[in-house]
């Protein structure tokens, strides 16, 4: 086609450029609008996080002080403190941590190192992932029946701790499995090449290498356990315990339980809401510390091969 012909045909476009331009503009505008909406919904959850913490902090100001941490529960809001619930939560951790780490790591070692790939292994794995999805109240019912009534542990620290251990065990197992999987094969091969047996290899090579990952997972599981309320309520932890827990068989109350009852009682006296807020700050602070430790371990000790 010569230049002249092209000039002549200039008015007869094959494409309707006007419509095309309009359509392009629309598509680009739509893209920008959508991007804005998407940013907003991402920021929405961050905003909520900010509002939540700010709001709770505001309600706790004036109530959260050393006296509040040191004194025991009381029906008078001005006198009430959370010394007992803090100790209860610490006791709970003292049971949940060893039980879940020992059982969780043992299960993970079996699944990753010993079990032959087959139906039994995939059955256990499916079972674990299903357990992780069971609502925590159901674990409460299990604890109430088995630990509380069958083994006659009542609503003691031991019963609460074992119930919580079962609840967070899947988290520890999955995290430990991931950590064990990440141990490179050449380390194991080197150990076998030196004549080490399987157990020696696991004990001296695999476990130490996987330890940071296991610890990170365990701490996260523990932080889930101390924030969990429903199983303890179902176990029948009494509302007001004035005695300080002194052993694994004594009755106890924990921080989330106290938040629950104070929130419910806020209808009676609005000051209880402030007490609940102050307790939430203490709980969130503990969780924050634990999560920071977990992240620190992960960043500091985890080697990449």
């Amino acid at each position: 086609m010569s230049y002249d012909v092209m000039q002549q045909n200039k008015d007869k476009h094959f494409l309707n450029t006007e419509a095309l331009k309009r359509r392009m503009k629309l598509r680009i505008i739509l893209d920008k609008v959508a991007k804005g909406i998407f940013i907003l919904s991402t920021l929405f959850s961050l905003l909520i996080l900010g509002v939540l913490i700010y709001r709770v902090w505001n309600q706790s100001v004036g109530w959260l002080n050393l006296r509040f941490l040191k004194s025991n529960l009381s029906i008078f809001p001005e006198k009430a403190g959370i010394h007992g619930p803090i100790l209860g939560t610490l006791w709970l951790m003292a049971i949940v941590a060893p039980v879940t780490v020992i059982l969780g790591v043992a299960t993970a070692i079996y699944l990753e190192e010993y079990a032959t790939k087959g139906k039994f292994q995939s059955f256990i794995k499916t079972n674990i992932s299903n357990l992780a999805g069971v609502p925590s109240v159901i674990f409460g019912l299990l604890g109430l029946t088995v630990f509380g009534r069958l083994l006659k542990l009542g609503s003691s620290i031991l019963a609460g701790g074992l119930t919580m251990s079962l609840l967070v065990l899947p988290i520890v197992i999955v995290a430990s499995q991931e950590a064990l999987k990440a141990v490179p094969g050449f380390l194991k091969d080197a150990s076998y090449a030196l004549g080490a047996t399987k157990w020696t290899t696991i004990k001296t090579v695999i476990l130490p290498t996987a330890l940071p990952g296991i610890m990170t997972g365990s701490i996260l599981a523990l932080s889930r356990a101390i924030g969990e309320t429903a199983p303890l309520v179902v176990l029948g932890i009494p509302t007001l315990i004035l005695r300080i827990p002194d052993g694994i068989m004594s009755d106890f109350t924990a921080l989330p339980i106290q938040i629950y009852y104070w929130t419910l009682d806020a209808v009676l006296r609005p000051e209880y809401a402030n007490l609940a807020a102050a307790t939430i700050i203490v709980l969130l602070f503990m969780l924050f510390i634990m999560n920071s430790i977990a992240i620190l371990i992960r960043n500091k000790y985890q080697k990449r091969y």
């Binding site: 919904s41 357990l131 029946t145």
Partner: protein
């Protein structure tokens, strides 16, 4: 060294050493025992629920169970489960109405629009939301969201289904966003680039390429979100109250299955009463429902996952 050592002999010695061999055989058995504990736990849950739920179902006629009248503590107790199921459905529905659109769009932003650096900051902060104990969300719903809603909606009761529903949705956003984003991230870049080469905008790539390709993962995240909402306890126990009426009015107080369990055990339903057994019946229904949801999510990811 006077005595020369043969490596092969050392290994053979080691292998024949009785104590060692015993240990090597014994250790896996201990680990197997630990691993079977998870199976025992499942069996334990099913047995305790079935055993006591059976006592309930054998004493209460089916017509009463599937009625809308729930009055466990009245002189003439009635155990209709429909109010509980209804309340659970309604609060979960509200939660998903919040969690699905916000979670999905946040996932789209993180996976398709945000820069790598920004994503690395935003995602962990979002996951912080998932780490907050549910009791804290319950407090937040009752003492912050409900008063705001009361100003917006006149006639809203102090305990209602709307506020815990919304807060539950907020709690589930990180879960939906995180799982959906993982699914979107596993869509290969070549597919996106193909669409970009044809002149698509990012939005078109997101909706016409990424979402269809990651569909199974996204659906699984929704199903897991629903399962989480149905099993959530403390938020509804605090903010939705304990009214046992059968209603579709979200401004009123209603009791979910989980809240019923929590209310009753913290009350004085002693062992052996019908009220005590009803907890296990409700627990059984809850367990079966969440189990089905979780299996469905696993099925979706396994069956419809497209490998690239």
């Amino acid at each position: 060294m006077d005595k020369s050592m043969n490596v092969r002999e050392v290994i053979k010695d080691n292998f024949n050493n009785k104590r060692h061999r015993g240990l090597e055989k014994f250790i896996p058995k201990i680990f197997l025992l630990a691993a079977s504990l998870s199976v025992v736990t499942t069996v334990g849950i099913v047995c305790t629920l079935l055993f006591d739920a059976f006592k309930f179902f054998s004493r209460v006629p089916l017509r009463e169970i599937f009625s809308t009248k729930l009055a466990p503590l009245s002189a003439n107790p009635s155990f209709g489960i429909l109010p509980l199921i209804n309340a659970t459905m309604i609060t979960s529905l509200i939660a998903m109405c919040v969690a699905i659109p916000i979670g999905l769009t946040a996932a789209l932003y993180l996976s398709e629009f945000a820069s790598d650096g920004l994503r690395r900051i935003l995602k962990p902060i979002m996951e912080l939301l998932a780490g907050i104990p549910t009791i804290v969300y319950g407090f937040f719903a009752y003492s912050f969201v409900t008063p705001i809603l009361m100003k917006l909606i006149p006639g809203l009761e102090a305990k209602n289904a709307l506020s815990p529903g919304i807060v539950m949705g907020i709690m589930i956003i990180p879960m939906v966003a995180s799982l959906s984003e993982d699914a979107m991230n596993s869509v290969p870049n070549a597919m996106r680039e193909g669409a970009f080469a044809l002149g698509s905008t990012k939005l078109e790539v997101a909706f016409k390429v990424v979402i269809p390709a990651a569909f199974s993962g996204i659906m699984a995240s929704f199903v897991l979100g629903i399962s989480r909402a149905v099993g959530e306890t403390m938020i509804v126990a605090i903010a939705s109250g304990s009214s046992k009426i059968f209603t579709f009015d979200i401004t009123r107080s209603m009791q979910t299955m989980t809240a019923y369990i929590v209310e009753f055990t913290s009350g004085d339903a002693g062992s052996g009463t019908l009220g005590y057994y009803s907890l296990y019946a409700v627990g059984l229904i809850l367990f079966v429902f969440t189990l089905l949801m979780n299996l469905l999510a696993q099925y979706i990811t396994r069956k419809y996952r497209e490998e690239y």
